[in-house]
Amino acid sequence: MKKIVSGNEAVVLAALASGVKVVAGYPGTPSSEAIGSLMKMGKLEGTEVEWSTNEKVAVEITGAAAWAGKRSLCTMKMSGLNVAYDSLISIAYSGCKGGMVVYVCDDPGVSAGMCEQDTRGFALMSDMPMLEPASVAETYELTKFAFELSEAIETPVFVRSVTNVAQSHAVVDIEERTLPSPEKAVWEKDINRYAKAGAAMCMAQHRRLIDSLAKASKIIAERGLNKVEPAPEKGGLGIISVGVVNGYLEEGLELAREAGCNVQEVSTLKLKTTVPFPADEVRAILRHCNTVLVLEELEPYLERGVYIEAYKLGVKVKIVGKLDGTLSRIGDYSAVQVAKGICTALGQEIPANLLADSDSAVEKAAARPITCCAGCPHRGTYMAINQALKNAGYKKDEVIVTGDIGCTILGMNPPFNTVWMEISMGASIPSAQGFVYSGVENPVIATIGDSTFFHAGISGLINAIQHGVNLTVVIMDNGWTAMTGMQVNPGTGSEFQQPGCTQVDLVKVVEGLGVENLFVVDPYNLEETTKAFDKALTLPGVKVVVTRRECAIQAARRKIKYATMTVDQEKCNLCKLCINITGCPAIELGEDSINIDQAQCIGCGLCAEVCKRSAIVKEAK
């Protein structure tokens, strides 16, 4: 059936059509809608679907399922692959029986505020084929193929997308779901293949892995996935492109033609893989052309391979790309970069409209720092930290507050300016420890959210406890993995989880670790929360403050309104303190008083708690 789906949805629909048995992953923009859309389909008889605690857990679950002969899919964003990779490379060495597909999304152009890493480097390192779809429809086709390929070579296969494809929506012809094979799961004990403790077995596995990539190369060539289209005449321009850039080729040629280039005699090679490297097709282009333009986003992995093939062939071909400085390793591409490359390769002057000019219009636009939503419980936590630091006599920016991934990082922005830095999932606590070890004399505070704590924060906390480090850890527990679009995590209430899942009580976990100075407070209660920080800052050792209140967006979706906030027009003197301290988007500046947008306000009451004239009144609902 033809319908409009996103690139992320195309992956899981292809997996369902391929009889997938196990699907696991961890949310991360831009990949979250893959499992997210599966979750919306309700119970899928015969297929296990879950949001795992982290990507490493997810890859281990799906790896073992594939060892047992079943098809499995694992999804994550590029940063998640870093977490999963320790296990993934080991699974790749062992290979698999059932098809195992690892779906990973890169983010060239940074729409989600993380590193612009190019995960093709991981495919190179573990000799795993990586398919790079150019469009939504191709995502569907290549994901189906990835399962077949993985089974044929007995090695996991990557499908690597980028934000612009993963989040695009286009028409795909979707097939019916195929139920997972009814055969019993069978896993044969074979330590030479599935264990690592022995040099001989490891090296034999390494050999098998290298051979499996060569086999993948052959299958991909037989399928004709990588298309060479030589110009009739030899000696002209050849363009090699891969993945999303393939979609810009035709348009880039149009722009180059408008710029005065003669693009009649251009050979093209459109690739769907960088790994395995399509050596035969690249050689065909190198033999046919005197100039070769290589088009790929981010790192020049493909281009380096082209240089090597040119050297091995001994041909004198001019290669244009990133390594000669023509194109950038930064940001996502459009037809503009394609046209720039063609102009440079053909020695044509690049027209002004293709050069990145400073954008005078954008510079005039109002800045919109992202901030906490109306009613966000994190707001109370940042306000309380700021107040407690003031109470303890510290000036602005005298106390380091480390941050972590997710909504909790919003404390870096105005009006709070509380959080100083972020590294990766769970890094807030060990980095705080590092500052303490470095000799920072003032207190150090680490801030982290609940999902991030379960993902990779807990090991850092255990380390700090073991080593008796003086620091304060704030776990902002809103019960959801919020930033990526409200997924469940171990701490989410059982009633919101899939049937059979259990809530893991974060507070009991922290208690169980032996934290003596543990404070559990409601961040909507500014006084109580501030007092907890006041106290924590005076105590030695590891202190943990759990600020606990459900994400306001999720509460509002269930029509919860905690109270009605009203403004006493007589008392409000427009001092703007409430706006300056809370930065709440539900508060607007009126003519004679502030106004509260009742549609946005959930009644957290933080504005009333900071008003010195009692002009904001909280009425219980």
């Binding site: 319908k3 409009i4 923009t29 729409s111 989600a112 505020g113 150019a134 469009s135 939504v136 429809a137 191709e138 934000t163 612009n164 494809v165 989040q167 695009s168 929506h169 286009a170 028409v171 999303v244 850039v245 393939n246 979609g247 810009y248 035709e250 348009e251 722009l255 996502d332 591409y333 459009s334 037809a335 503009v336 409209n353 293709l354 954008d359 005078s360 219009a361 954008v362 005039k364 636009a365 109002a366 800045a367 919109r368 720092p369 992202i370 901030t371 939503c373 109306a374 105005p414 009006p415 930033m483 703007k576 706006i579 300056n580 930065g583 988007p585 607007e588 500046l589 946005q600």
Partner: protein, 207 residues
């Protein structure tokens, strides 16, 4: 409009239904068998955060991003955000500007600047855009409640821009009704009010 090649760049803020405009046009294209790629950029989308969407019609599996100076139509739902779309406008193309002002906190507190309509208008004209300005004050009420501004804007887009060469108002109405079978009457009202709305082709002096 040979082979219906038409690129639309849409900007606005989270909560305005910016992405919905794109989805409705994409649905209408799907219904007519026009190839379409719809690429919304939500980023860390939240109420009041920057949202943009790129819609490419008439090409088979195009790259998702519209090149600079490539858009046949820009739709902006907020005055300041308009400035982020100017560089994508094809010279001579339509720029539907819905002049809503949504001031960030720093602007509200008088700590940061916010562009005047004249500044925005000048930038669009420098890019050789054809401005159609829709005044948010004209947003009508249906049963004593303001209608959704995105559907109203979509009506104005259909009346005043090149999109009318691809779709009829009925095509859009059908897509709107598919999406919200329940609110059909209100949406039809909002859309038709947008179709009939008068837009400014020269900068209004009193806004």
């Amino acid at each position: 409009m040979a082979n219906n090649k038409f690129d639309i760049y849409i900007v606005g803020l989270g909560g305005q239904g910016v992405l919905t405009i794109g989805e409705i046009i994409a649905d209408a294209a799907f219904n007519k068998g026009i190839p379409v790629n719809f690429f919304p950029t939500k980023g860390m989308s939240q109420r009041g955060g920057f949202v943009r969407a790129q819609l490419r019609m008439g090409r088979d599996e195009p790259g998702p991003s519209i090149p600079a100076k490539g858009a046949d139509l820009v739709i902006s739902m907020e005055r300041s955000e308009s400035l982020k779309a100017v560089r994508y406008l094809k010279p001579g193309a339509d720029f539907l500007l819905y002049g809503l002002v949504w001031a960030p906190t720093a602007v509200m507190l008088g700590k940061a600047p916010y562009p005047t309509l004249a500044e925005v208008w000048t930038e669009i004209e420098k890019a050789h855009g054809k401005v159609a300005y829709l005044d948010p004050k004209t947003l009508p009420e249906y049963k004593e409640k303001k209608v959704r501004d995105n559907i109203y804007v979509l009506g104005a887009v259909m009346a005043e821009t090149g999109l009318k060469n691809i779709f009829t108002p009925e095509d859009i109405i059908a897509a709107v009704n598919e999406r919200w079978p329940k609110g059909a009457e209100e949406n039809l009202f909002a859309f038709q009010a947008g179709l009939k709305a008068s837009v400014y082709r020269n900068m209004p002096q009193n806004t």
